[in-house]
Amino acid sequence: MHKKTIQRIRRVLAAVFFLGITLMFLDFTGTLHTFFGWMAKAQFLPSVLALNFIVIAILLIITLLFGRCYCSVICPMGVFQDGVAHVYNWFKKNRYTYSKAHNILRYTVLGLFIVVLIAGVGSLVALLAPYSAYGRIVQNLFSPIYQWCNNGLAAVSEHFNRYTFYSKEVWMRSLPTFIIAAVTFVAIVILAWRNGRTYCNNICPVGTFLSFFSRFSWFKMHIDEEKCVKCGLCTKNCKASCIDGKNGFVDYSRCVTCGNCMAVCPKEAIEYKHAKSNPVPATSTESVDTGKRAFLIGSAVALGTAAFAQEKKKVDGGLAFIEDKVAPERTTPIVPAGSGSLDRFRKHCTGCQLCVSQCPNDVLRPSTDLMHLMQPVMSYERGWCRPECTACSDVCPAGAIVKITKEEKTSIKKGQAVWVARNCIVVADGVPCGNCARHCPAEAIEMVPKRGDDTGKLFIPAVNESKCIGCGACEYVCPARPLTAIFVNGVEQQRTV
């Protein structure tokens, strides 16, 4: 076997996974998940949350056979760090050093992670999980750029009267999540730039978990003592800082089988083969920086209650000003159809933002609630949860949103519309409306005569609780602004009506 073969195979596979997952997050047309959706479902932590035992078993078997190649091929965060480190290698070669494993740190983080996972503190799970952190970075930082480029193309295609590209509104779904993504991005880039895989071997709970298995893997990087001249080049090229070349020791708990050491060894003394572990090294003195991450919490938007001011017509032409809608205070958050109960959803969701990036109706956005930060919630200021769309349930890799069909969706109750009389233009301004009733796909709203109205023209909406599914069509088309006269509260347990 050529000494660069392992490195090359790894690079090709990593590129395929990395591009596939990244493009899937960027794509807003709902087409790419058909091809790349399985890549998200092959992610370790989402599979654990989805109780997808087959995927877990396959990933563990791969690790037991080949080591932590999951980390250098399948995990997009791992590949992303390799990419960053690789760029720096162009400027400074042979820059890594060996360091001892920081067991206390990594086991503490893993232990903490398991505790919050069981306790269901979604925000902390989402913060630490590698795939989710990467998804957040793409959704918050890369996708606006992607969409602006797309909008440029859409303008060109509009100019030529073609419909190939359509423009997509770029908007920030949640400031705290954006800040977290930005801080994560900067921290990861700095760590990877300086020391390669610091994050993977000290913080990442998936990496630490897989390390228990990789140390027993069948195939390993093996240093042939007879060929080795102790030049230390392998150590200087190990981005996991896990080769102690002087002592001929490899820490397999941290090795991600990237093959870089094989590729640089001048004596071809390193082989990827079945072998017993090397002896434990005598001493080590160097240490690695540990990254710390901080996050900021934004404040909620202030609420106003003024009803929509209708403009009076005097001359012809012109457009009335439209005030932005403000999200109402929902007693229970709304989560996508297929989530089951709120508790269940929150325990499964890793906050990866894949559903948010796929929602074509601008309904899903990350929660700003501290306990469930970054987990998606729904709101209807910019669109409503349309009956023909099941995008979020199609892509969810963690089983938080179970796959549903369009037919099932039309009967799943995810919320309950409530009417706010004082905001309704029928009550406040005494003009007829009924737009909510006209647009209810479940026919759950009927207009009934307003009591005390002599004109016989005023009708108010009556919401039939047993029919309402909480899709938000009524809220979206309600003319009252900034707060609507009809809005949806979530339900604790979703059910079929």
């Binding site: 509009e158 419909y163 359509y166 423009s167 929509f308 209708q310 403009e311 009076k312 017509k313 005097k314 001359v315 012809d316 032409g317 012109g318 457009l319 009335a320 000003f321 439209i322 910019r382 669109g383 349309r386 009956p387 023909e388 233009i425 003009v431 007829p432 409306c433 009924g434 737009n435 006209r438 647009h439 979206y476 088309v477 003319p479």
Partner: protein, 469 residues
């Protein structure tokens, strides 16, 4: 491969041979329309004029409608005029347009206090005041639509303000603006012109010479039209402004049962010898922008003339027409219309029949009869009504309105409709936000039942999106 029966094949071949033969004969005849390679040009000094029987005014058959004035280009969305956008009116361009129009003999300028979001009279005044007062006739209107302008003082103030904005001390042609509107057109008429004594005021002003000609413009319920004409002996209308074009001539009522055929309206004036001023000769540009197969028919007859020219020649063919108003936003609009009117070549009976046939074909497209006049705007709930209708009609014109999901190009049509919809109308101004308040209905001169049409468009969009067409 489409199946073609032998019979069809022969038919097609036959038609082809016939067409070739006709073309060959045409060449032999040296038809100037075909052989003259240079485009037609407007001839200075050859404007066709009509005479006002009362005053003897020589009125140009092409009148300038100041309703769609140009705006400063980089401050407004592409293709909009002062009606749609609050962007500043491009006064320099208005002056240039007016100068050229006058140079070629146009002398009738029609405006209103309501036009261009209330800015038309001012801009018209600036442009015209640069010319000698006897070079042009001004037509403006008492546009007291809003109930706040119904009181006598408010209406008189509006009239006096028109004189001020237009920088003149008399108005050549003054109109009661758009009678026939409102839920009850007679009540509306009383509110606006009778109960407040404004009609008497205007008659007085005519006596004094502040108004040289008094008339009214009519859209909508024919009751008001018939009523005002029935009192012609008393009021002595000097002119009446009606909507007339080859589509409305026989199809106005078919398109909308509440509307009246232009033929009836014209004949009512003709028999009383009241000159007719024509509005919407092009139906807000719709008759200049027809589907390709219809355009081709017109072009194959008159390759040198524009599609729009047919509509103007139609109106000009009727001798009792005093002038046809055209809202010319762009210089090329003006240039083209000057070609059509300097001089006007009336249609032959055979050409009138041809247009009747074209009208039938346009009617069969089932367009929404919106002329983008913007009277309905601003919608209090922020909808962009004319743009929604324009998009719907555009899809009909381009063959992108699917009737069923089985249409062979359904996917393409669906995409064109939905993507184009989001492009031409912002989401929050789309049809789904119509509350059916009905504010617009009274203002629509075409009497389109706008809320129902909005619901129709919205339901169509929903069907496309949900895949239930």
């Amino acid at each position: 491969m489409k199946d073609i029966s032998r019979r069809d094949f022969l038919k097609i071949m036959g038609a082809g041979v016939a067409a070739t033969a006709v073309a060959a004969v045409g060449c032999q005849n040296n038809d100037p329309a075909w052989t003259d390679a240079t485009p037609l040009k407007a001839q200075k000094g050859k404007m066709t004029y009509r005479t006002n029987p009362k005053t003897g005014d020589k009125v140009s058959l092409l009148g300038y409608g100041m309703m769609r004035l140009p705006v400063i280009e980089d401050k407004a969305p592409k293709g909009t005029s002062g009606r749609e956008t609050p962007a500043p009116i491009d006064q320099k361009m208005v002056n240039k347009l007016v100068d050229k129009a006058i140079e070629y003999g146009v002398n009738y300028f029609d405006t209103s206090p309501a036009y261009c979001q209330g800015r038309s009279e001012h801009a018209t005044g600036i442009a015209l005041s640069r010319h000698k007062r006897d070079e042009y006739f001004i037509a403006t209107k008492l546009s007291n639509f809003a109930p706040t302008t119904w009181p006598r003082e408010a209406s008189i103030k509006m009239f006096e303000n028109s004189l001020k904005e237009l920088q003149v001390d008399y108005i050549d042609y003054l109109l009661l603006h758009s009678i026939g509107g409102g839920e009850d057109c007679m009540q509306m008429l009383r509110n606006r012109y009778y109960d407040n004594g404004i009609l008497d005021f205007l008659l007085e002003q005519r006596e004094k010479g502040v108004i040289r000609n008094l008339g009214f413009s009519y859209h909508g319920d024919v009751k008001a039209y018939d009523y005002l004409l029935s009192r012609h002996d008393e009021y002595k209308w000097d002119f009446v402004q009606i909507e007339m074009n080859y589509l409305d001539w026989h199809f106005a009522n078919e398109i909308n049962e509440h509307n009246t055929e232009a033929e009836y309206l014209y004949n009512e004036l003709d028999k009383r010898k009241i000159p007719a001023v024509i509005m919407e000769p092009l139906l807000g540009g719709r008759l200049a922008n027809v589907p390709d197969h219809i355009a081709n028919e017109m072009k194959s007859r008159e390759p040198q003339r524009s599609i729009a020219s047919w509509a103007f020649r139609f109106c000009g063919t009727y001798p009792n027409v005093l002038t046809s108003l055209s809202g010319m936003t762009y210089m090329d609009h003006l240039d083209d219309n000057l070609v059509s009117h300097c001089p006007l070549k009336p249609l032959t009976q055979e050409e009138l029949d041809f247009l009747e046939d074209i009208a039938k074909k346009i009617y069969d497209l089932k367009n929404i009869p919106c002329t983008a006049c913007q009277y309905c705007m601003p919608c209090p709930f922020g909808l962009d009504i004319p743009s929604i209708f324009a998009h719907y009609n555009k899809c009909i014109k381009e063959g992108n309105l699917a009737r069923t999901a089985d249409d062979s190009e359904f996917k393409k049509m669906r995409k064109a409709f939905l993507v184009g919809y989001d492009r031409s109308v912002p989401k929050l101004r789309q049809a789904d936000h119509c509350t059916h308040c009905g504010e617009c209905v009274a203002h629509c001169p075409q009497r389109i039942r706008i809320p129902e049409m909005m619901q129709m468009v919205d339901e169509y969009v929903e069907k496309l999106k949900q895949g239930t067409l």
